[in-house]
């Protein structure tokens, strides 16, 4: 793209991003807001492409727009049933803020001030002081060719390890929200897809391709954009599709095999780290073995991430089959 056309495109993309964001915030209908939010995520992924951050773009599209979107849509439909007794103020009805218009204006001014201040701070930043050079210099020793993967799995592997544990923590936290009587059930609502319907067809057709794509993303991540998180997300989507299509029920939360799958990645990662610690460097990956080690870790992580992400979208274990009444508790638990 020539310079002017590129700038024009960027300007338009910015406008679209801001518009979608505004709509996601301001649209009166909750479902509409969620749809705009998903659209917004896609636009942001495009912006990452324009910034030549393909790894981020993939992640944003898969996680930010994709999975978060599915999560939100599911939440909206459940909220509609849960709050049906006061339609007017919740999911289905228009959203009217509890704040007075004076407060809204004050908030608007404040938020604009913060945004403006940030813009000013951004513009006056000195010339880039990033770590491209340091990464480039050490890339050869990292065992992979994709600098982003090198940072994620080697230079700052500790962050990634903790991050995979944060995902797991979120899942444990989510499951801990189940009611006592629902413990041991399958997570989320049981899905009934119409046999022979679109969902079931997709559910049959897509998984093989999705599976291949996911594995490919992980494998290629060492040299090209891609990696455990992106691949894991695709695999999670595949699994979700299978479950939503009713082809296979979600495993019970008490399933030992499931639990091992959830912790396999982080555990493997820590194990490699500890082995390194015994050898002299915690999480140290000797250059000679770095690539196989990273691939091993990524394989483990992909499994755990895929399982965790899919289950995060499904929600806490609960009774009910998704068709029957999903009523609020009549008698609040005290």
């Amino acid at each position: 793209m020539s310079g002017l056309a590129a700038t024009g495109f960027d300007l338009m993309l910015c406008a679209l991003i801001l518009g979608a964001a505004l709509a996601a915030i301001a649209v009166r209908d909750l479902f509409g807001a969620v749809v705009f939010f998903i659209v917004y995520g896609v636009f942001v992924a495009l912006a990452w492409l324009r910034l030549e951050a393909i790894d981020v773009a993939l992640t944003e599209a898969a996680l930010g727009a994709g999975l978060t979107g599915v999560l939100m849509i599911g939440a909206v439909s459940r909220l509609e049933r849960l709050t049906s007794r006061d339609q007017d103020q919740d999911a289905a009805g228009p959203q009217s803020p509890p704040t007075s218009s004076a407060a809204r204006i004050a908030t608007m001014v404040g938020a604009a001030g913060i945004g403006g201040g940030l813009a000013w701070g951004f513009i006056t930043l000195p010339p880039s002081a990033g770590l491209q050079l340091a990464v480039a210099e050490n890339l050869a020793a990292s065992g992979v060719e994709n600098p982003v993967t090198a940072v994620l799995l080697n230079f700052r592997g500790w962050d990634t390890l903790l991050e995979s544990i944060v995902l797991l923590a979120a899942l444990i936290a989510l499951w801990s929200l189940a009611r006592d009587q629902d413990w041991g059930r399958r997570p989320g609502l049981r899905q009934h897809a119409r046999p022979g319907g679109v969902m079931a067809t997709f559910g049959r057709l897509l998984p093989p391709f999705g599976f291949l794509l996911g594995v490919y993303l992980v494998w290629t991540g060492s040299a090209q954009p891609g990696g455990a998180f992106q691949g894991g997300t695709v695999l999670a989507a595949v699994w979700l599709l299978v479950m939503m299509a009713g082809l296979k029920a979600a495993p019970r939360v008490s399933s030992t095999r499931l639990r091992w799958a959830l912790i396999a990645g982080p555990l493997l990662f820590i194990g490699v780290g500890l082995a390194g610690a015994v050898a002299g460097t915690f999480l140290g990956l000797p250059t000679a073995y770095a690539k196989p080690l990273i691939l091993t870790i990524e394989a483990g992580l992909t499994l755990s991430i895929a399982a965790t992400l899919a289950l995060l979208v499904l929600g806490a274990p609960m009774a009910g089959d998704g068709l029957g009444p999903d009523q609020p508790d009549k008698e609040p638990a005290r």
Binding site: I25, V56, G64, G115, A119, S128, L131, F155, A173
Partner: protein, 126 residues
């Protein structure tokens, strides 16, 4: 001609302001989570753009890695948040928290704290 990085950085700043406004003004908990995500991606955009201003080099890989980590963490928090909202709605039938000012004042009025949920403020419009 303005560099893409500058444009998207400013866009990120605007998104942060926008999301903040949404977070404060909206009482619906799911909408707050959406606003949270918008602020988050605004931050990432600003961050990523700051690492992409040097047009000769590619976007700073460290910044990219941090952003990826950030996106995952945000998703984790969002998923848990959604679960919490659903659990709250299931127990109370509500999607709003009781007024925050009420929560601050409440202990001054009476010593019984568990009124927090019982005295849910009715939506003015409802």
């Amino acid at each position: 001609m303005i560099a893409s990085a500058t444009l998207f950085g400013l866009c990120g700043a605007a998104l942060i302001g926008l999301g903040l406004y949404g977070f404060v003004v909206q009482a619906h908990l799911l909408r707050r989570l959406i606003a949270f995500n918008i602020i988050g991606s605004g931050i990432f955009l600003l961050f990523g753009a700051s690492g992409a201003r040097d047009q000769l080099a590619s976007t700073d890989p460290v910044a990219q890695a941090l952003i990826i980590t950030g996106i995952v963490v945000a998703l984790a928090a969002t998923a848990f948040g959604v679960g919490l909202v659903l659990a709250f709605a299931k127990v109370t039938g509500q999607t709003h928290l009781p007024e925050e000012s009420d929560a601050r004042q409440r202990p001054l009025k009476a010593g019984l704290p568990d009124r927090s949920v019982q005295t849910i403020v009715k939506d003015p419009a409802g």
